[in-house]
Amino acid sequence: MRLIEDMICTEPGAIAETVLLPGDPLRAKYLAENFLEDSVCYNTTRGMFGYTGYYKGTKVSVQGSGMGTSCIMECAYQLIEDYGCKNLIRIGTCGSGDPDVHVGDTILSTASTSVSNNTVPEFGNYDFVPTGSFELIKAAYDSAKENGIPVHVGVTGCTDALYEERDKLPTWISNPMGGYDQVGGEMEGTGLFVAVSKYPGIRAALLVTCSDHQIYRDEDTPLAQRETAYRNMMKVALETAHRIDSERRS
C-alpha cells in the first residue's frame, strides 16, 4: 500500500538497473540530452522527468527525485519495488563549511547524519548510521581518479528543514557537527541510504557538487547556472555506472 501517489509511471523494463537521481528534474533532462545516447523520456508524472539512454554502451537512467528525504525515499521504493532497479546514485548539490572544499568541487559521501525519524519504528533511539555502498563508493572513487577529477570523500550532513529558525535553537541542535569533520550538507542522502538499506543487495551512493560555501561565499553558484555547472559529478556518476556494469559482465 502506498501512502502517497506514485512519482513514476511507466512500463516495466523502461528503467535501467542503474539510476542516477538528481533532485532537480531539469538536471535529469540536461544530463540525458548532453551525456546519454538514444535517450527516451519515460516519465513526466508530477513533472519529475525520467530518461533512459546509453553511456558508452551501458544502459543508464536518470530520474528527478525531488527535494527532501520523503521524496527520495518514495522515489527509491518505486524504482526498486516496481521497476527492479539495483543501483541508485544520487547526484545532487550541497553546501559546505569544509575549508578544503570549494564551490564546484565533487563530493562523495561515505555516510550521512540523520535528524529524521525514519528509522525510529525499527531502531527507536539507537543510532542507525545511514551508510552508502562501499562497492559503489569505491567504483566512483576509482572512476574519478582515472578521469582526473578530484573528489572529497567523507561524511555528509542531511537536514530536513531548509528554513530552520537557527537563532532560536541551542547550538548543539543548530550546529550539531560543530568541530567534527563534514565535507558537505544536503537534504536527501539519509532518505536514500535508509530506503535502500531495506533491500539486501541493492546499492546506493551519494555524489554531490558543492554549490554554496559557508566560508567562501563569493564563490556561490548563481541559481541559473546550477542546471549546467555539474558536469564533473555527472561524468563521475556515469563512469561509475559504466564501471559496475563492466565489472558485472566480466
Binding site: 555528509t156 548543539w172 567534527y180
Partner: protein
C-alpha cells in the same frame, strides 16, 4: 596525562593500534615489537610503544564497550597527538555468507549506545572510517589475497542486545563489536584518520565459532596484516 592514561605525547607513536583486551598489548610487546616501553601505570590497562620492523608503533588497550572506548580513544586521540588510529580486534559476523577468518573493515558503526545521541542533540552521528585509510587497507588486503568485507558494523553496549542486533543485520550490518562506534567518533572529533581491522571468530547467523586457540591465532594474523597494511612494512 588524563584520568585514564599516564605518559606524554612523546611516549606515543604516530600510529596507535587500539584493542579491547589489555593482554593483547602485552602479546604485541612480547612477540612483535622491539625497544618496547610501557607508558601507562593506571588500572593495568597496558599501553606500549615499540618498533615493528623498524617503524615506531603504539599498542593501547581500550577496554570493553562504548563507555571504555569513549575514555581511552578520546584520551589517546585528544592528548597524545597521534596521526592515525587503528582498532584491531575480533568480531562476530552477522551475515550467514561471511566465513570465519574474514577480515571486516568497518565503513561505519551503528550503535545501541546513547553517548552520541546525547552528544549530538538527538541527531544520528555518522561514525565512519576515514575513507583513504580504509581504501589503503582494503587494497592491501586484496593484493595479499585476503578474504575481506567492508560494510557497516554494529557496536552494542552489552550482550543483552542480540535481538536488536538481528534487526541491524537485516538492514545490512555485517558484524558485531562493542567499541568501533566510539573509536570512530574519537577519531572524527580530533581529526585523526581512523579505521578498524577486525577478524571474524564467530558467526551469529550460522552458529559457527572458532575455538579459543583458533581465535587467538586469527587475531595474531590480523594484527600482523594490519601492521603491514598501515605501516607499509
Amino acid at each position: 596525562m588524563g584520568l585514564c592514561l599516564t605518559g606524554t605525547a612523546a611516549d606515543v607513536a604516530d600510529v596507535v593500534f587500539l584493542t579491547n583486551d589489555s593482554l593483547n598489548v602485552e602479546w604485541a610487546a612480547e612477540n612483535l615489537l622491539e625497544d618496547v616501553y610501557f607508558y601507562n601505570e593506571i588500572r593495568n590497562m597496558k599501553g606500549c610503544t615499540g618498533k615493528y620492523k623498524g617503524v615506531p608503533v603504539t599498542f593501547q588497550g581500550e577496554g570493553i564497550g562504548p563507555v571504555n572506548a569513549a575514555m581511552y580513544a578520546v584520551e589517546i586521540a585528544g592528548e597524545f597527538d597521534p596521526e592515525v588510529l587503528v582498532k584491531v580486534d575480533c568480531c562476530k559476523a552477522l551475515q550467514a555468507d561471511i566465513a570465519l577468518g574474514t577480515i571486516i573493515l568497518p565503513q561505519t558503526a551503528h550503535t545501541t549506545s546513547n553517548i552520541n545521541k546525547r552528544r549530538f542533540g538527538g541527531m544520528t552521528f555518522p561514525a565512519a572510517a576515514d575513507f583513504e585509510l580504509l581504501n589503503k587497507i582494503y587494497e592491501t588486503a586484496k593484493a595479499d589475497g585476503k578474504t575481506v568485507k567492508v560494510g557497516p558494523v554494529l557496536s552494542i553496549e552489552h550482550r543483552g542486545e542480540m535481538e536488536i542486533a538481528k534487526k541491524f543485520a537485516e538492514r545490512g550490518a555485517v558484524a558485531l563489536d562493542m567499541e568501533m562506534n566510539q573509536t570512530f567518533t574519537a577519531g572524527q572529533r580530533f581529526h585523526k584518520p581512523c579505521a578498524g581491522v577486525l577478524v571474524v571468530t564467530e558467526n551469529l547467523a550460522t552458529g559457527e565459532k572458532m575455538s579459543s586457540e583458533e581465535a587467538k591465532e586469527a587475531f595474531h594474523e590480523v594484527v600482523k596484516f594490519a601492521l603491514h597494511a598501515v605501516l607499509e612494512v
